[in-house]
Subunit: 456 residues, 2 copies
């Protein structure tokens, strides 16, 4: 029995593997491999160096467990592990995997290697995998299991149960899908309902006729929304003729939801969308973070130029410089708040493109409330502190804070909504664009207000 | 049959409801209510005003569907909808709900109302609900279904199936849990395995004996991690004597994962953790966003004070002011990158407290790489642009950028790791603390370097 574990126990298991590896205790290692849950093994792999990863993998048998382990592994580790393996060994170990995992694994490898592996597979498997690899990334098609348990609608419940008993890949059966004479999806029956139905009843008499289905090109995020909204265990994927191509199961949907959230987090912080960034080298890590910082850098240069234009104003009142950080900081922060609320609202379906106007209007109101509050607060402090400056300085800073926050809340709300309407992932560009534009606009309005109101 | 839908169709359905409500077409409304999936109805409720919400609710029957609808509703809408209802009506509509939904709903209402409702419930239900309400919020106990399908280990497979047929709440059955003579959890059998086993086999001979279970006080995030790591459909919740109290099912885990991600998003942006912030009034919205902005405001004041100390330096070289935005902006952005990577890594288990040192070391390296790159780039630009200033200004700005980014990456990595070690949710304080401290430290180091290197 493979025991599951987490946290502390994972660390203990990792150390045990390490010790056995150092001692080259092959038999013990194989025993331990057999007892370890594939998901745990995949987790421990993050803590091994490349030599340890390779040594352990060479000891793994070509079993279902090994196939499952590969399916759970982080993509970058998987790539490094397999890229130098022989095509034969890879073909052997992935034979037991589902078609979706096979397609995923082969998609990570160099084209030449993939070709050699495909040639070593059974003709039928080969065709299926190639078909799956043709579906767009992150689509229902690339995610689905193709071994679906279907029965004709005139089958009796008892016959269906007997058929289930001889269905090989039964582990993925949550529902029984029912087809009509043309092989089209006609209904669905839960396993529970099937079990609790008298043996001689026809499936068509107990099946639920309206089945929610998706197309292979449906985005995985849409699939996740459906599964999570209606509490499904699986969703069928159908072709144009209403024939079942496969099912997307809830365990994969759970992964999708986690992964999409992680990608949104990283993208909003301008780190790219590589979920495995922590596994990358410092150089690769720096490389994927460089672009956003460049946007921010350009914004900084633009702000410097704007301030340069106002250098005579600064010369006659250096106290102006002291409030630059707070004007752009308050703007940047409220802008981040607004864009986060909207980006997450779009991802969870709380913001629909239909109610755009109301969302923007509300955020402007919030921006105004908070802007007036902090503008007043800061105006007062500025006034009290810089008594050597003119009394108007407090008014200028307060007004600038208020305007900066109002603009920031508006931009922070508008940008992701606009991107979504343009069919661009709102998480991608929102973070960089919002903070950078507020740096520039905040400084600009601050100095414009200052030169207009102050005697400089 | 209740048809499911999403996106555009939801909007159409909402408009239909609206039209019928205006016409007071009671019969048509009731028909439409019956045909609408509870999850869709809960979604549409977000778009109704309070009068529409109340009018529609008064038409709903005391059915399982209505109970399900309440369970799917946003908490703030649920509260407003029920707070003025009679205890009798509430007791009636929630009778069909699971104990966990009952406890959730009652937990939202005023204590007096809850008491009156509880008194109207059956003694047994009342006791169960009160027990559930005593579990900590966001724990396995508050999330679990208490109607679990269990059988003694000496039961035969055929008998178990017969028992399942008369088990009332069968919709939540994914696994059959097997108990020993003392009623302790002894094993588990999937419904699939049960169906495909000959009728005379004892359950103890086919059950999986190592069952992964949680305690009622286990945090829901831990439960979600287990379910998502091992691809379970449900996890049993057991007491100290190993007896089953309930099960947490995958559909609730899906909701937990979404909700926890949303809370982390909002907290990192300093918006509090109210997932329903979009449903709140602008005032309430502003109120929950005020605290982080106050941190940022204090940071701004501190930065202004620091710059005030260096006003003689500024007077002799106003060009220094121009680069304040870029020094703090680059720091703030790389700090946000680092803290986002770490906070998300902790949430998904990619960062464990065990490998803290390596993570910090790597981020410092990334900070150094990017700091040197952008420091050099900016030094050059600054040098070329401000030829009237001393040539050293470019060096000062470049060096400040580099140091600001290095500090920011370090703080951004260290703070969430430190918070986690202190058992504080790293998402809460990371955002505000990191950006604010970089505003202050960035300005401080910038002016210290300037006064040290420049002839001012």
């Amino acid at each position: 029995m493979r025991k599951e574990m987490f946290g502390h126990e994972i660390a203990v298991l990792r150390d045990t593997f390490r010790r056995l590896l150092r001692r080259h205790a092959k038999v013990n290692l194989q025993k331990l491999l057999e007892k370890t849950h594939p998901a745990d093994l995949a987790l421990i792999y993050r803590h091994f160096n490349e030599d340890e990863q390779k040594a352990l993998f060479s000891l793994m048998e070509t079993s279902e467990q090994t196939a499952e382990f590969l399916g759970e592994l982080d993509e970058s580790i998987l790539h490094d592990l397999l890229v130098n393996e022989s095509p034969q060994r890879i073909a052997n170990v992935i034979r037991e995997a589902g078609t979706n995992d096979q397609a995923l694994i082969l998609g990570l490898l160099p084209v030449e290697l993939t070709k050699s592996i495909l040639e070593l597979m059974h003709d039928e498997d080969q065709e299926e995998v190639e078909e799956m690899m043709a579906y767009p990334e992150d689509s229902a098609g690339s995610l689905m299991y193709t071994d679906v348990f279907t029965m004709h609608e005139e089958t009796r419940a008892g016959e269906a149960i007997a058929a289930l008993q001889s269905f090989e890949k039964a582990e993925m059966v949550f529902y029984l899908y029912v087809t009509d004479d043309e092989g089209r999806l006609a209904g669905v029956i839960s396993l529970r309902d099937l079990v609790t139905t008298p043996a001689d009843v026809h499936l068509e008499d107990i099946m639920i006729k309206h089945v929610f289905s998706v197309r292979p090109e449906t985005d995985q995020e849409e699939v996740a929304k459906i599964v999570s909204r209606y509490n499904y265990l699986a969703v069928p994927v159908i072709d144009v003729d209403n024939k079942i191509l496969g099912i997307v199961t809830v365990d994969d949907v759970v992964d999708v939801i986690r992964e999409e959230a992680t990608e949104d987090f990283l993208q909003m912080a301008g780190v790219g969308k590589d979920r495995e960034i922590l596994l990358k080298s410092s150089w690769d890590n720096a490389k994927s973070r460089l672009p956003w910082l460049f946007t921010s850098w350009m914004g900084g240069i633009a702000a410097a130029m704007i301030i340069g234009v106002f250098d005579s104003a600064l010369e006659s009142m250096v106290a102006l410089a002291a409030f630059i950080p707070v004007v752009i900081g308050m703007g940047g922060n409220i802008g981040t708040q607004s864009s986060t609320i909207v980006v997450r609202g779009l991802a969870t379906g709380r913001v629909e493109v239909g109610n755009t106007f109301m969302v923007i209007f509300k955020e402007i109101k919030v921006g105004l409330i908070l802007g007036v509050f902090y503008g007043l607060l800061l105006g007062i402090v500025a006034y009290l502190r810089f008594i050597s400056g003119p009394p108007l300085l407090g008014v200028v800073v307060g007004l600038s804070i208020c305007i900066s926050m109002l603009i920031a809340a508006t931009i922070g709300t508008f940008v992701p909504l606009f991107l979504r309407r343009m069919d661009i992932d709102p998480a991608i560009a929102t973070g960089p664009f919002v903070t950078t534009s507020i740096d520039v606009l905040g400084v600009l309005f601050y100095f414009m207000i200052a030169t207009a109101l102050l005697p400089i």
